[in-house]
C-alpha cells in the first residue's frame, strides 16, 4: 500500500532469563497507514510496550528481536545498524512515554531538550530552533510558550510535561508517532485534553499513530483500528466499530464486559472481570494460553457466535463475518471449539 507508514510482520521478542527464555511477544504483525490511529490494547505484561520499543530498536540489551519484515515507508529497517536507527528515531518515528513526570531530564530546560532534537536531525540551531520550539509549544496549547521554554521539568505539572513531550516529538515532524500509554499517569480531565490534542495534531500532520493503552474508553474515543493483545499475541484485530460491535475472541469480550457503563450497572452488582490468570510465558509454551479463563456461563454469548472464515497462511486465524478488516486468532484448537463459532473454509 502506498501510504502505509509502518509494516511489521511476525515480530517475536525473547528475553533470556537465567536458564530459561521468556517469550514476551510471539509472532505479531501490525501495520499503520498515514493519518491512521492504531490502538494496541491489552493488560500489563502482554508485551505491548515491548512491541513499541522493538519497532524503535530500543529493547533492553539482552532481549532478542526476530522479525520477518519491519518496514518504514516501504523500506526495510529490520537490519539497520544502531547508527542508522538513531537517524530514524526522533526524526521519522517519534515516541511519547507513559511517565511524563520522569521522561524529561531534570537537569535541562525545556528549550535545551527541544532544541537538541532539532540540532540532531535537522541541523537547525540558535534563534531559528528557538522560534520553531516556541511555535510547537503554542501548537500543543502551552502558553506563555516563551517563558515555559526557560523552565525546568520540575517546574511544570504532569499535563504540561506531557504536552512538552508531545511538542518535542512533533518538532521533526515524524511520519509515525508511538504513544505508550500517554495518558495513564494523568488526571482524568487532563487525559481527555491530551487525547484530543494528539488526535488533532495527528490529523494536522497526517502522521500514523500507534497508541498503546489498556483503557478501552481511550480506544473508543480515538482509534481507527484496534489490535487486542493477550499473552504476547494479537488475538483480535479490526476496525474500532467491528471490535466493539462484534468482539469474537473471548478475551476481547471479557475486556469489553469489564467497562463499567454508567446507568447500566446497578448498585451492588459486580463489575465485569475475566476469571483466571495470565499464563507464565517462560519456557517452551505449548498449552492453551486461555485455559481456565473462559466465562462459565457462556450461554448468553450464544447469540454472539460469529461466522468465521479461515484465513490462509496463519494458523487458527479467521476473518470474522468474512470482512477483511476483522481478524481473530485463537491460540489452539480447543479454544476454537469453545468459542462455538461457525467456521467455513476460506475462499482464497
Amino acid at each position: 500500500m502506498a501510504d502505509q507508514v509502518l509494516n511489521v510482520e511476525n515480530l517475536s521478542i525473547d528475553i533470556p532469563l537465567s536458564g530459561d527464555i521468556l517469550h514476551a511477544v510471539d509472532g505479531i504483525s501490525i501495520s499503520v497507514n498515514k493519518g491512521e490511529t492504531l490502538c494496541i490494547v491489552g493488560e500489563s505484561g502482554c508485551g505491548k510496550s515491548l512491541t513499541s520499543l522493538a519497532i524503535m530498536d530500543l529493547l533492553p540489551q539482552k532481549a532478542i528481536r526476530t522479525v520477518d519484515k519491519l518496514e518504514l515507508n516501504g523500506t526495510s529497517i529490520a537490519n539497520h545498524s544502531d547508527k542508522q536507527m538513531s537517524d530514524i528515531r526522533g526524526s521519522k518515528i517519534g515516541m511519547i512515554f507513559q511517565e511524563p513526570m520522569t521522561s524529561l531530564n531534570p537537569s535541562f530546560t525545556v528549550e535545551n531538550q527541544m532544541v537538541e532534537t532539532l540540532a540532531r536531525h535537522r541541523n537547525i540551531r540558535g534563534k531559528e530552533a528557538k522560534k520553531l520550539a516556541v511555535e510547537m509549544l503554542e501548537k500543543v496549547g502551552i502558553s506563555p510558550a516563551k517563558q515555559r521554554l526557560k523552565q525546568y521539568p520540575h517546574q511544570l505539572s504532569g499535563g504540561l510535561r506531557q504536552r512538552v513531550m508531545i511538542a518535542m516529538t512533533l518538532l521533526c515532524e515524524p511520519e509515525l508517532i508511538i504513544a505508550d500509554e500517554p495518558t495513564t499517569a494523568l488526571d482524568v480531565t487532563i487525559q481527555a485534553q491530551i487525547l484530543e490534542l494528539l488526535a488533532r495534531l495527528q490529523t494536522d500532520f497526517n502522521t500514523g499513530l500507534i497508541l498503546i493503552t489498556h483503557d478501552l474508553g481511550v480506544v473508543a474515543k480515538i482509534a481507527d483500528r484496534v489490535a487486542v493483545m493477550y499473552a504476547g499475541q494479537i488475538v483480535e484485530e479490526g476496525s474500532v466499530y467491528e471490535i466493539f460491535d462484534n468482539p469474537s475472541h473471548p478475551y476481547t469480550r471479557g475486556l469489553l464486559s469489564c467497562i463499567p457503563v454508567p446507568g447500566k450497572i446497578k448498585r451492588g452488582e459486580h463489575l465485569g472481570s475475566i476469571p483466571g490468570m495470565v499464563p507464565s510465558l517462560i519456557g517452551d509454551f505449548t498449552e492453551c494460553r486461555f485455559s481456565g479463563r473462559w466465562e462459565e456461563s457462556s450461554d448468553k454469548d450464544d447469540e454472539k457466535i460469529a461466522n468465521l472464515v479461515s484465513l490462509e497462511g496463519i494458523e487458527n486465524a479467521f476473518l470474522v463475518h468474512g470482512t477483511t478488516d476483522h481478524i481473530v486468532r485463537f491460540c489452539c484448537d480447543s479454544c476454537l471449539k469453545k468459542s462455538k463459532s461457525k467456521i467455513s473454509k476460506g475462499v482464497n
Binding site: S86, D87, G90, F97, N105, P106, S107, R120
Partner: protein
C-alpha cells in the same frame, strides 16, 4: 542561584562558629592549660602566676570571645614547642599539603570517574571487573605499605623518583599516587552506581528515543545527573586529604600540615593542635560549601525551589 549561595554561606558561617567553640574548648577538656604550660616541677604559685598571665582565670565566655577576636585577625597564639606564632607555622606548612591534596584528588577523580562510567556502560564486562579489582585493592591496601612498595620499586630499584622530600614536582609523584589511589575506590563505585541508576531512567530512554548520539546521551544526559553525589563525596575526601594525610606525609617526609599535626600531638603542643583543628574544619566547611554550590549549578531542583 545567588539567593541559594547567600543562604548556604550564612549557614557555613554558623557552622564555622560552632566548630570554633568546640576547637576552643578542646584546650580545656584535655587538661588545665596552666598546669600543662607550667610543666611537671612547677609549684602552685607558678601555676597561679601563669593562670593570671594568660588570663585563664577569666570567665570562659570572655576568654572565648577574646580568642575568637584574635583568631579572626589571624592570631592563634604561640606554639608551646616551636615558640613561634601558630598561624605562621600553619601558613608555612600549608602549601605542601595543598599541593599534595590537590594533585591527589585530581588523580583520584581522573582515575575513578572514567573507570566508573566505563564499568556502568558495560556491567560485568572486563573493564568492570578490572575496575572492581582496582577498587578492592585500593580499599584494602594499607597506604603505608603501598607507599613502601612504590619506594622500593621506583626509587630503590628503578631510581626514577626521589625517596622523600618536597623540593621538586617529582617528589610529589608517589605521595599523589598513594593518597589518590586510596581515595579513588569510593568515587569509582559511587560513579558506577550513579551511572547505572541514571542510565535506566525514563529520561535516558527519552534521549535515546530522540535519536541523540550515544556520547550525548552518556555525557550530557546521564553523567550530569550521576555526578551530583560524587561531587559531595569528592569534597569530603579532599578535606580528608588536607587534614588526614599524616601517614603519607610522614613516610615521604613531606613537611606539610598533616606532619605538623602529628608532631604537635606527640609533643602535647595544644595551641598548634587547636589551630590545626580549626584550619582543617574550615577547609571542610569551605569545601562542602563549594560542593553544594557546584551541585546547585548542576541540578536546577536544588537551585530553584
Amino acid at each position: 542561584m545567588i539567593a541559594y549561595a547567600f543562604k548556604r554561606s550564612i549557614l557555613a558561617i554558623l557552622v564555622a562558629l560552632t566548630v570554633s567553640m568546640i576547637s576552643f574548648s578542646l584546650l580545656y577538656i584535655s587538661s588545665d592549660p596552666a598546669i600543662a604550660m607550667a610543666g611537671e616541677t612547677a609549684s602552685d604559685a607558678d601555676i597561679e602566676a601563669i593562670r593570671q598571665l594568660y588570663g585563664f582565670d577569666r570567665p570562659i565566655v570572655v576568654q572565648y570571645l577574646d580568642w575568637l577576636k584574635k583568631a579572626i585577625s589571624g592570631d592563634l597564639g604561640k606554639s608551646y614547642y616551636f615558640r613561634t606564632d601558630v598561624s605562621h607555622l600553619i601558613a608555612e606548612r600549608l602549601p605542601t599539603t595543598m599541593t599534595l591534596g590537590l594533585c591527589a584528588i585530581i588523580f583520584a577523580i581522573g582515575l575513578a570517574v572514567p573507570l566508573g562510567v566505563a564499568s556502568a556502560i558495560r556491567p560485568n564486562s572486563i573493564i568492570d571487573r578490572v575496575a572492581l579489582f582496582l577498587s578492592v585493592m585500593g580499599q584494602a591496601l594499607p597506604s603505608f605499605w603501598f607507599a613502601l612498595i612504590l619506594i622500593v620499586l621506583f626509587s630503590v630499584n628503578l631510581r626514577w623518583l626521589p625517596v622523600s622530600g618536597s623540593d621538586t614536582w617529582l617528589h610529589f609523584v608517589m605521595p599523589t599516587i598513594v593518597l589518590g589511589y586510596y581515595a579513588a575506590p569510593a568515587i569509582m563505585r559511587l560513579t558506577r552506581t550513579g551511572m547505572l541508576e541514571v542510565l535506566s531512567t525514563d529520561y535516558i530512554r527519552t534521549a535515546r528515543a530522540k535519536g541523540l548520539r550515544p556520547p550525548v546521551v552518556l555525557f550530557k544526559h546521564a553523567l550530569r545527573n550521576a555526578i551530583i553525589p560524587v561531587v559531595s563525596l569528592a569534597a569530603v575526601q579532599f578535606g580528608f586529604m588536607l587534614g588526614g594525610s599524616i601517614v603519607v606525609e610522614t613516610i615521604f617526609a613531606l613537611h606539610g600540615a598533616g606532619f605538623l599535626a602529628w608532631e604537635s600531638i606527640t609533643r602535647n603542643d595544644l595551641p598548634t593542635v587547636q589551630g590545626l583543628i580549626l584550619a582543617f574544619s574550615l577547609f571542610y566547611i569551605i569545601l562542602t560549601l563549594i560542593a553544594d554550590l557546584i551541585n546547585a549549578w548542576l541540578d536546577p531542583r536544588i537551585r530553584i525551589s
